[in-house]
Symmetry: C2
Subunit: 450 residues, 2 copies
Amino acid sequence: MIMEKGISSVEVLPSKSSQVTAVKVVVKEPETKQTQRGKRVGFVLVHAGAGYHSESKAKEYKHVCKRACQKAIEKLQAGALATDAVTAALIELEDSPFTNAGMGSNLNLLGEIECDASIMDGKSLNFGAVGALSGIKNPVSVANRLLCEGQKGKLSAGRIPPCFLVGEGAFRWAVDHGIPACPPGIMATRFSLAAFKRNKRKLELAEKVETDLIQLKKRRQSNEKGSRVMCRTCGRPSKANDGSRGGDQIELYSLENDSGTLDTVGAVVVDQEGNVAAAVSSGGLALKHPGRVGQAALYGCGCWAENTGARTPYSTAVSTSGCGEHLVRTILARECSCALQTEDAHQALLETMQNKFIGSPFLANEDGVLGGVIVLRSCRCSAEPELSQEKPTLLVEFLWSHTTESMCVGYMSAQDGKAKTHISRLPPGAVAGQSVAIEGGVCRLESPES
Amino acid sequence: MIMEKGISSVEVLPSKSSQVTAVKVVVKEPETKQTQRGKRVGFVLVHAGAGYHSESKAKEYKHVCKRACQKAIEKLQAGALATDAVTAALIELEDSPFTNAGMGSNLNLLGEIECDASIMDGKSLNFGAVGALSGIKNPVSVANRLLCEGQKGKLSAGRIPPCFLVGEGAFRWAVDHGIPACPPGIMATRFSLAAFKRNKRKLELAEKVETDLIQLKKRRQSNEKGSRVMCRTCGRPSKANDGSRGGDQIELYSLENDSGTLDTVGAVVVDQEGNVAAAVSSGGLALKHPGRVGQAALYGCGCWAENTGARTPYSTAVSTSGCGEHLVRTILARECSCALQTEDAHQALLETMQNKFIGSPFLANEDGVLGGVIVLRSCRCSAEPELSQEKPTLLVEFLWSHTTESMCVGYMSAQDGKAKTHISRLPPGAVAGQSVAIEGGVCRLESPES
């Protein structure tokens, strides 16, 4: 639950399920010098990953979220587009060694960093994405540049500009477009290298057990009688099973997902014109296969932004985080955006996380469904009459929801002095992968021209 | 319109728009030796691309579609899974030098072949995909192997198996899983190399004109007066415009899209158990940037397959073709699948092509929206009582629709002696990119166990 400066009322919503914690936070912006007429407005919500964030590192996660919010707001105050503001927030998140994006990303099986990132502009509905990109410090910059180039229309000889580039081709395109290559070895940090070594050791042990089990199975089949294998961590004898990939013993060697390095960072922004943008960036899963591309690069899965239109009363922006394969197969970003067009944003998001994510038939065979989203929606209306003023305002509702142990978020409006941050956690007793936490707030922004 | 052997009635549907040609074809399967009890059943629908298919090469396109159908049906008759049958069809389509997939794919800017392919299993809802893959003769085989490996559960040390691999990493994974590398130079054909050379020349000319125009613009700005530039194809003087990428003159050098090499091949299958599968494969756009990935690799965009479930009365399978960026931004395969859950499949697909593709707000800035789909849906029911028998049957409705000049399709049931093929064309006067053609049929299959 959020109880920070600047929040004037907290409404705890009745939970429909023991597995759900639902908190609604109403944020009233204090009157400051910055709310003067003519001051540019806007709002940003960022996340530093849905996963597990240890209390010991909470300060670092909150700090990077705070800085990311400030960068986006500085851009908005300077009159930048929503896409440029969301890119600025992402660059700050990527540059942190504590997040699994850009600098400090998880290393793949070969000890290399390959990043995914994407961005979507709610106004033009254009999209830019990179997958399995190496050698560029800020993958989101390449995604944003692809989006910008795509908006210029066709290339010479009527060629359609690409919106999604991967691997070496993406790297070449970036360098050709003036984005500097990052010298080798810069992006791996002391933390990510240490985690890689520990994970590689675990993998070797797990594969050794697997080999032992396969040999054991063969002996069993030939002898037609049972046998036992020693567990390599606890030393106790344990029954071999017939799982095609080694069975339960292997779980003893499951890779660590270090605090904060689980997956993905992201941001959603609404600018003074009411235009929305969303972006996402990820180093992917630890020890992933080279060339593996996750949700952060995939249209509809990693982020979504859509301005209000004929069939959409609200502008919506969404960024996702968590297990890439789960987020891809549920096309979760777009699914959330569609759901947010109904009246009650909180209820719509909760139902989406319960029915279209945890309860999705596309993930029916998964043990647990791990992910998180940040969303915002905005409209130029007065949804809460008691707060209405004569001036037209931009109503921004923002929410975050996750099925992982925790999710670190930060948010700020252009009228704020500083960002607010929060580590959201599942309630005690809730099971990660099977429960949903959901929180958020409402922010009313004055139109600069009002 | 289809008027081939095996089709007993053709119903021309009233067109709601002058831009639409809508033909419904009802296919009654003739009683043959192959409809005996115990014979395995199933149905396949394939396409060799939505684009422009010249009359002069019509025979080749039809022939490869026919062979692809036969390969799938042979697999189904041998009791293979729907995914294996659809893979067999795709391999045949990829191996043809006339299609833009596998062998004979379009070459990219560097003269290399980089392929995209994906497959989806309606039963498990699993998905496998590769993007920007070089050096493998049949990209769909790698996608299918990724799908199969994904169904085996987690990898050692609890790692999540990848469902989407790109570039060099995808190649390495394929070779490590026993899929042979293709020797360099084998996949480019005489046709594709000749088209590459012609396109490169056009690109050079277009870029020369663009450079001239930029210089002209600079001179204009400094002189503050108009000027003229000579058109390099017709030799006539023409006004330069201020388009940031060279303007209308460039269109004179637009790349050719050779007959049949526009984009993508695909197939949809239903097997004897009623399980559906869909697959798609593409060499991508001519002279694409290296690393560019199109709809054929992207979840929800290139193909979709979903067995009947609690919320889905019909099993559906979809495969798309056309301009990758258009198909991605509309997530067209999944959109069609969702629409097909309403009663009238023909009307649902027509509305989807009109409202969610041509009329999509995501493509509002495009001159023309180019694409095509093949779809099938099936259920174990008796939708047309006059045809009902005492035995339970599998009702299969199949359709194809395109906004391109033409689309080449083939279809066959396990009860057929041979496949039927057809080149569907927009009606005279219809404008490619703005009009929809839609045709299809109904096929009733006896259950083998009935």
